[in-house]
């Protein structure tokens, strides 16, 4: 639209400034666009996509997270940079790192204009010499990463025990009140409307069975509910009863014998610390009993001692098993407790897998447990199979001989296998098939 000064230009004396007489050439307005949300909504959707991708990449990331998040939870507020490859927008296009590009500047033929792709460069046509792969470094608080990981886990196959201390908060819809959508309980509301109509319009010919009769243009009769929103609509209201359901105890036992080197200690620390973190964040009332063993065993050590054992010796499993069995009988009877032993070691025990004492105490323990988790640190074995001859360790042989579905074992060979192992222990399963409940 012509501005207020338009007259000045268009009606002024003809001069060398040509002012278009037939049209002003456009107009300027200062529409306030600050409420425009499209960009932000799109960004939020893109973030959702990245989150989904982050979840897919968790197994790879976990290894890094493990190294960076301190066991005691002091680093939870720390931010971890997670690298994600770029979001794909595939179209048919020409190949990577081939063909020519054009630019301008100084230089002789043979001079470098951009560094080549050293493994990580994607260097596509139009993206020649781009640094990195164009992906994203996403800062994620360690806490959130842990939450994402732990959300999918549970202690499998837990049974309700009479003297349970754990509670479960389940919303129960057990009351209705008047209200508007979206919490409207339509079924109840409809019932109420029909009942009300039936009561008040008993003798009205336009009503039948508590429903209004309407006739459409074709003369067909239809029954409809005669709503009175302020009277009829019912809202769902929930309360959260707390009911005690169960008790659980985890026996975390680790091998601290001489055969456990630096790497194995690290791997065991990681596995155990993650299990402890998981139990502490997801369950309020799980008891964890810490213990370690070499040729003799200790139980009920503190968490700090447990993670910094500093002992060594031979490797006998029987003392450890007996100690746990005794502790279960004395402090955590199976009638009241779900028992979950968690053992980490390299599996190189001195007892033969056929040792009757070993078999006896091992089966006794598994008999008491809902599940027995065994994480075997086999980094060296995986790396140098020729030195280990492909033979299973004594403990693994024993477990294979027993073939008990309540024993879940995992071999730890690298960082990714840690997440895989923990997943195999704790990952929520759809339905409960495969689980063999203990009677």
């Amino acid at each position: 639209m012509p501005g207020p000064l338009d007259r000045l230009y268009t009606r002024g004396p003809r001069t060398s400034i040509p002012v278009s007489l037939e049209s002003p050439g456009g107009s300027v307005s200062g529409k306030k666009h600050d409420l425009e949300r499209t960009g932000e909504i799109g960004k939020a959707r893109f973030n959702d996509r990245l989150k989904r991708k982050l979840r897919e990449r968790l197994p790879d990331i976990v290894g890094d997270v493990i190294g960076k998040v301190p066991i005691d939870g002091s680093g939870d507020k720390d931010v971890i940079n997670v690298h994600l490859p770029p979001e794909q927008r595939p179209i048919f296009q020409r190949g990577e790192n081939s063909g020519e590009g054009y630019g301008s500047g100084e230089g002789e033929p043979g001079d470098i204009v951009a560094p080549g792709p050293n493994g990580n460069g994607r260097g596509r046509r139009g993206g020649h010499g781009q640094e990195g792969d164009g992906g994203y470094d996403i800062p994620v608080p360690a806490e959130e990463l842990l939450k994402m990981i732990f959300e999918d886990w549970e202690l499998p196959d837990m049974e309700e025990k009479a003297s349970g201390e754990m509670t479960e908060d389940t919303p129960v819809f057990n009351d209705t009140r008047k209200s508007q959508a979206p919490q409207t309980d339509w079924r109840r509301s409809a019932k109420r409307a029909i009942a009300r109509t039936a009561a008040t319009k008993k003798n009205d010919p336009n009503y039948e069975h508590g429903l209004k009769i309407i006739t459409d243009e074709n003369g067909n009769k239809k029954h409809v509910i005669d709503w009175r929103p302020d009277e009829d609509l019912q809202r769902k209201v929930w309360t959260t009863p707390q009911k005690p359901i169960t008790n659980a105890v985890v026996y975390a036992m680790r091998d601290v014998s001489g055969s456990i080197g630096e790497e194995e200690t690290y791997a065991a620390n990681v596995m155990l610390s993650w299990t402890v973190r998981f139990l502490k964040t997801q369950y309020d009332k799980v008891e964890i009993v810490f213990g370690f063993h070499h040729s003799s065993a200790k139980i009920n050590v503190t968490e700090e001692q447990f993670f910094n054992p500093g002992e060594s010796g031979g490797t006998d499993l029987i003392p450890a098993l007996e100690l746990i069995n005794k502790d279960i009988d004395r402090n955590h009877p199976t009638s009241d407790w779900n028992i979950y032993p968690f053992y980490v070691g390299d599996g190189e025990i001195f007892e033969s897998p056929n040792n009757p004492d070993l078999v006896k105490s091992f089966t006794e323990l598994t008999g008491k447990s809902r599940r027995l988790f065994y994480a075997q640190t086999s980094m060296m074995e995986a790396r140098y199979p020729q030195w280990y001859g492909g033979n299973e360790t004594n403990l693994m042989k024993l477990i294979q001989n027993l073939n008990d579905p309540h024993i879940i074992s995992a071999k730890i060979t690298d960082k990714a296998s840690m997440k895989k192992g923990l997943d195999s222990f704790f990952k929520k399963k759809e339905g409960r098939e495969g689980a063999v409940p203990r009677s």
Partner: protein
């Protein structure tokens, strides 16, 4: 002396400025920027007209930078929110925080919309307005834009409402998956509305293919006409006339894959699993995605010309304003405008800068049109390398060859570069070609290196990069709509047989899975990898590739 526009009338510089300036200054300084710009537009528009630009009446809006980023990311105002736009928006925002500025943004609708960033100084806005005048002139007159839908603004808003409705009814992931699939082949279109597949109904298209196929077959199997036809026909007497085989479907290569799928997907795009009023949602998304692409196609095709023309407009207009003392010479504003202009036309080591390249070519054309020799005295050469002397050329000849308006109306980037990017300009702009090459010595490694400064090679190479917008040509092969008689889709990559013509396979495979989502039956792609023919097949989520043995297919 370089005259950008010889047709200009001269006038009486200074006189009006003397008359207007005190009033302008006094009155305008009290106003908001919005009102100042509104008052200035007729002046800029008038100068543009005087310089023989023919801009359209444009709606300018002063908008917050976030909004401008949004439009830049989504290409149009009112586009439906999606993750692609969100990612671009986020990247632009990050760039802006680092200090990059989008000076101008113009949308090709009627009236054209242009956005001025809030808080920019007046001189920046003037520069942008002048630049936009060039763009709207280009939109209105270049041949590539002849068929663009000027009511795209309204279309896109209607589209957004529909897509949001689908998302509300069907859930975002379901709609998003389909939009992703549609976007994967959005560049495989034929923007010409008169091409058979765009112009005909399904039956007409099939009938046209059959008829044309038969005609061509008969032409190629007919004896050449001669004076002895009557005798030769005696020989044919009693023999059966050879009959043309059945035409395959499609009868000829079809480059508009998107339209082909939309029209001939074996199961169609009626989604029975959703409520009645929604069942054509997939067809709608395909159509609207395609429409958007048809709208954006000419802009991709004329990027260098278009940006060059707009830069040419803003330099000419600002020169004139300074010459007329509307912007006082040697004032801060004049210096700032030169600084911004210099920033826009800076060369880039890895990409040709369309502003710089386009402007240089247009200025060269304008110089030749005016009949001036090059400043450095070097001879001009035509595209064959012959020396031409524009100073001795007749006016009619220059009009015929170098009228900028005529060139602007009739060329696209490919021909524009091939014809008007001269070896002298390549030298001026210090253009080079580069590629991934080993160094002379083994320890130097593989890097992006300058391969040549040879002008003709650069001109040809750059022009080639604009064929089909720099994308490989993929077509539905003849018979590819009903491959193996099982309604499978068979695509053919028209490989140019050069280094660098191979497809980027990771993407190509991903596109095939998207194509499977659309076609719902196996999809095949024939291409060439390292000189060998390969056939990639997508069945479900799996893409498998195998080499094609010559005997099997020939």
């Amino acid at each position: 002396m370089s005259k950008p526009n010889p047709a200009e009338t001269g006038g009486q510089p200074g006189k009006l400025a003397d008359f207007l300036r005190p009033r302008l200054d006094k009155r305008l300084s009290e106003k908001t920027q919005e009102e100042r710009m509104d008052a200035l537009i007729p002046v800029i528009f008038g100068i543009a007209k005087e310089l023989k630009f023919q801009p359209l009446e444009t709606k300018f809006e002063i908008a917050p930078t976030d909004y401008i980023d949004t439009i830049a990311a989504y290409s149009m105002p009112g586009a439906p929110p999606d993750w692609r736009g969100g990612e671009d928006y986020w990247k632009l925002k990050k760039e802006r925080e680092k200090g990059s500025v989008i000076y101008e943004l113009v949308v090709n609708t009627l009236p054209p919309l242009a956005f001025l960033a809030e808080n920019n100084p007046d001189i920046a806005q003037i520069l942008v307005i002048a630049h936009v005048m060039g763009h709207t002139d280009f939109f209105a007159h270049n041949v590539a834009f002849k068929n663009t839908d000027r009511y795209m603004g309204q279309n896109i808003i209607a589209r957004t409402e529909r897509i949001l409705y689908y998302e509300e009814q069907l859930g975002i992931p379901k709609v998003e998956e389909f939009v992703d699939a549609a976007n994967a082949i959005a560049w495989n279109i034929d923007p010409d509305p008169k091409s058979p597949i765009n112009n005909m109904t399904n039956e007409e298209y099939k009938a046209w293919g059959k008829k044309r196929f038969k005609e061509l077959w008969e032409t190629s199997h007919r004896r050449p006409r001669s004076a002895y036809d009557d005798l030769l026909e005696l020989e044919d007497r009693g023999k059966e006339k050879p009959v043309a085989p059945n035409a395959p479907f499609p009868a000829f290569e079809e480059r508009d894959i998107m339209q082909f799928i939309r029209k001939f997907a074996p199961d169609g795009f009626i989604d029975e699993s959703v409520p009645e009023e929604l069942k054509e949602w997939q067809a709608d998304i395909l159509d609207s995605t395609r429409k958007m692409m048809v709208h954006l196609w000419p802009q991709a095709e004329t990027k260098i010309m278009n940006e060059g023309w707009a830069s040419y407009a803003h330099t000419s207009i600002l020169h004139k304003m300074i010459e007329r003392d509307l912007i006082p010479k040697e004032s801060d504003d004049a210096i700032e405008s030169s600084r911004m202009h210099a920033g826009v036309v800076q060369g880039h080591p890895l990409h040709p800068n369309p502003y710089q390249l386009g402007l240089a070519i247009w200025e060269d054309i304008a110089r030749k049109y005016a009949g001036d020799p090059r400043k450095d005295g070097k001879p001009d050469r035509d595209w064959m390398g012959n020396i031409i002397d524009v100073t001795k050329m007749s006016k009619e000849e220059r009009e015929r060859r170098y009228n900028p308006r005529h060139i602007m109306e009739t060329h696209r980037d490919e021909s524009f570069i091939r014809e008007f990017l001269t070896p002298a300009l390549v030298e001026d702009l210090k253009l080079y070609q580069y590629a991934l090459r080993d160094g002379e010595n083994s320890w130097e490694g593989k890097h992006w290196r300058i391969t040549t400064r040879q002008a003709q090679e650069i001109i040809n190479g750059m022009a080639e990069q604009h064929i089909n917008n720099g994308l490989p040509v993929i077509v539905v092969a003849p018979g590819g709509g009903d491959y193996k008689g099982k309604k499978e889709l068979y695509l053919l990559h028209k490989h140019e047989g050069k280094e660098g013509s191979d497809l980027f396979l990771k993407d190509a495979k991903a596109v095939l899975t998207h194509l499977y989502t659309l076609w719902k039956r196996p999809v095949h792609l024939e291409t060439v990898v390292d000189g060998k023919r390969y056939l990639y097949t997508c069945q479900g989520n799996k893409v498998s590739g195998k080499e094609i043995k010559e005997e099997a297919t020939s």
